[in-house]
C-alpha cells in the first residue's frame, strides 16, 4: 500500500501513514495541537494550516469549501477531520 509522511510541526512529529488516512486519525493519536469539535466537517474547529504538500491532500469537498469560507480560512487551510493524506505534507493548527 502506498505510504506518505505527515509532519505535525507544532510537536515536531512525523508519522508514516497509509495513503488515504484522514489527518484526524493520526493527529489525535500522536497528540498534535489541532482541536476537534464535531468531527464531521461542519463546525470548522479543526482548521489546520498546510505548510507544505498542499497538493498531497485530497481535494476539499463542496461542503468543506463552504465551512472553510465561512471560517475565513486562508489559502492553505483545511479541515483536519476531512482531509485525507495522499503524499508527504506538513501541517499545524490554523
Amino acid at each position: 500500500m502506498a505510504k506518505a509522511k505527515i509532519t505535525f510541526t507544532d510537536i515536531d512529529q512525523t508519522v508514516n501513514v497509509p495513503a488515504g488516512t484522514r489527518v484526524i486519525e493520526v493527529s489525535e493519536k500522536i497528540g498534535a495541537g489541532i482541536i476537534y469539535g464535531c468531527r464531521e466537517g461542519d463546525c470548522g474547529t479543526c482548521m489546520m494550516h498546510v505548510e507544505e504538500g498542499w497538493n498531497n491532500l485530497t481535494e476539499p469537498s463542496v461542503l468543506e469549501e463552504k465551512v472553510l469560507r465561512e471560517n475565513m480560512a486562508s489559502r492553505h487551510d483545511r479541515l483536519a477531520c476531512q482531509a485525507q493524506i495522499l503524499g508527504d505534507c506538513r501541517v499545524k493548527p490554523a
Binding site: N16, I35, G44
Partner: protein
C-alpha cells in the same frame, strides 16, 4: 484626580449603568441566585453577565450582551447611557448564549449597528440568529488580531484568543483608555453588586475554580493569549463574568501564567518520562499485578514510574499528576461485569485537563468474567489516549508466569513511552 473612596464604592443599581472609566459603562446584570452554571460549575453566590458600552465621538459600541432571561435589565442599563440610534458597533467576544441572549433584540432595536466577531464565529452567529430568507441580512465583519474599529476619538483593537474557552473567543482592547474587554478570560462566577475587585468580597477561590474548569483544558492557548495581552497597557480588565479588575489588573495575568504552568513542573526531570500506575484491588491480586507492571516498566531507562492505590487518595491530586504525566495505567478488578466506581470517577474527572499525546493502559484480576480491562481501554481511547499495549487480565490469583506477563506488559508500555520521542518518524501502525 484620584477618585474619592465614596466614589469608588459604586454599587450596581437597577436601571443604572455603572461607569468604569470615562465614557465606559458596565451595562451587565447580576444573577445572584444561580447555583450551577452550565451544569458543571457550582457557584456559592451566583454570577454576573457583564456587558459594556463605550462612548466615542462618532457613536457608541456595545461589548457583549447578557443571557436571554436578563435582557430587559440589560436594556434598561444601556438606555441609561445611550440611545439605540447612537449604537454603531456591537462586539461579541464569543458567542456563548449567556453573552448573546439579548443580541437578537439589540439588533432589532439598533438595526444600523454593525457586528464585529472573530473569524471563527461566523458559523456560530448564523446558527444563533437563524436568519430567515425574507429577513434583511445582518451586517457583520470578522476581525483578527490587530484589526481596529474607530469610534472617532477612541479605538477598539481586537486580539484573537481562540479556545478561551470557545473556538471563536477574542478580546477587545480600548486603546486610549487601557481597558481590556476580555470575554470569559479572567472571569469567574462571583456575584457582587460592588462590581470592582477592590470592593468585592474575596473571590480569589472563584477565580481559580473558574480557571480550573473552563480554561485549564486549553493551557497552551492561554499562554498564547498572555503573550498577546502582556505588552498592553492595562488599566482595567473587564471580563464577562465576575468582578471588574481595576485594582492591579496585571495580577490576573500573573495568576493565569501560574495556573497555566502545569501543577507540577512539566517534567519531573528534563530527560525523564513519567508513567503513573493506579489500581484498585479487593483481594490484593490486581495490586500484585500493578507492582509487577511497575517493576517491568522501571527497567526502561528514562521512565519514572509511580504507583498509587486509588483507594488511598483524593481525585484532584491524581488528576494533577496525570496532567503532567506521559502515560497512565489503570488496574481494576471486575465486579458485576464492570470496572469499579473509583476508576470511572477518575476517568470522568479528566475532561478538565489536556490529554493529547498521552498513553493509556489497563490491567486487572477478575473472578468470573473480566470485562473491566477492555472497558477501561475503550474509555481511554474515547478520551483520545493512545493505548499501545493490549491490557493484561488475570483470573484470580496471578501465577509467577502471569506476573512475568505483567512485567513484560510494563516493559512494553515503557518502551512505547520512550519511542514517542519528538522528532522521530513513527509508523501509523505502531500508534495502536
Amino acid at each position: 484626580m484620584t477618585a474619592s473612596r465614596s466614589e469608588r464604592q459604586t454599587v450596581a443599581q437597577p436601571g443604572e449603568a455603572v461607569e468604569i472609566a470615562p465614557g465606559v459603562h458596565w451595562i451587565g446584570v447580576l444573577d445572584p441566585t444561580l447555583r450551577a452554571f452550565d451544569i458543571i460549575l457550582r457557584t456559592a453566590n451566583g454570577t454576573t453577565y457583564n456587558a459594556y458600552a463605550v462612548r466615542g465621538r462618532d457613536g457608541v459600541a456595545v461589548i457583549d450582551t447578557v443571557k436571554a432571561g436578563f435582557a430587559e435589565e440589560f436594556f434598561a442599563r444601556l438606555e441609561s447611557v445611550a440611545r439605540y440610534d447612537e449604537i454603531r458597533v456591537i462586539v461579541l467576544n464569543h458567542l456563548e448564549p449567556d453573552h448573546t441572549g439579548a443580541l437578537p433584540e439589540l439588533m432589532r432595536r439598533a438595526p444600523q449597528a454593525k457586528l464585529y466577531i472573530s473569524t471563527r464565529a461566523t458559523t456560530m452567529l448564523k446558527a444563533l440568529l437563524k436568519p430567515k430568507d425574507d429577513e434583511r441580512p445582518f451586517e457583520y465583519e470578522t476581525v483578527g488580531t490587530g484589526d481596529e474599529v474607530s469610534l472617532g476619538d477612541r479605538t477598539l483593537r481586537f486580539l484573537h484568543t481562540p479556545f478561551l474557552h470557545w473556538p471563536d473567543t477574542q478580546c477587545t482592547y480600548l486603546v486610549e483608555d487601557g481597558v481590556l474587554f476580555s470575554g470569559d478570560v479572567f472571569g469567574c462566577h462571583h456575584c457582587d453588586s460592588r462590581l470592582f475587585n477592590d470592593r468585592c468580597g474575596d473571590f480569589r477561590f472563584a477565580f481559580d475554580y473558574y480557571y480550573a474548569h473552563i480554561m485549564r483544558p486549553f493551557k497552551t492557548y492561554v499562554m498564547d493569549a498572555i503573550k498577546l495581552i502582556e505588552p498592553l497597557t492595562l488599566k482595567i480588565i473587564a471580563p464577562t463574568h465576575g468582578p471588574i479588575l481595576r485594582d492591579r489588573p496585571r495580577r490576573s495575568l500573573t495568576r493565569y501564567r501560574e495556573l497555566s504552568s502545569a501543577s507540577f513542573s512539566e517534567r519531573i526531570d528534563n530527560d525523564e518520562r513519567s508513567l503513573i500506575v493506579f489500581y484498585m484491588s479487593a483481594y490484593g491480586n490486581t495490586a500484585r499485578m500493578a507492582e509487577a507492571i511497575c517493576a517491568g516498566a522501571e527497567e526502561a531507562p528514562g521512565v519514572r514510574v509511580s504507583l498509587y492505590d486509588l483507594e488511598g487518595g483524593e481525585l484532584q491530586p491524581f488528576v494533577d499528576l496525570i496532567e503532567s504525566a506521559d502515560a497512565l495505567a489503570l488496574g481494576s478488578p471486575t465486579i458485576n461485569g464492570d470496572a469499579v466506581k473509583p476508576i470511572w470517577d477518575l476517568l470522568s474527572s479528566l475532561a478538565v485537563i489536556d490529554l493529547k499525546g498521552k498513553l493509556g493502559a489497563a490491567f486487572g484480576s477478575y473472578g468470573w468474567t473480566g470485562e473491566a480491562v477492555r472497558m477501561i481501554e475503550d474509555r481511554l481511547r474515547g478520551l483520545k489516549l493512545r493505548v499501545p499495549v493490549p491490557g493484561v487480565r488475570v483470573k484470580l490469583i496471578p501465577t509467577d508466569e502471569e506476573l512475568d506477563a505483567c512485567r513484560d506488559f510494563g516493559r512494553a508500555l515503557a518502551g512505547a513511552i520512550v519511542s514517542g520521542e519528538r522528532g522521530k518518524v513513527i509508523d501509523f501502525a505502531d500508534l495502536g
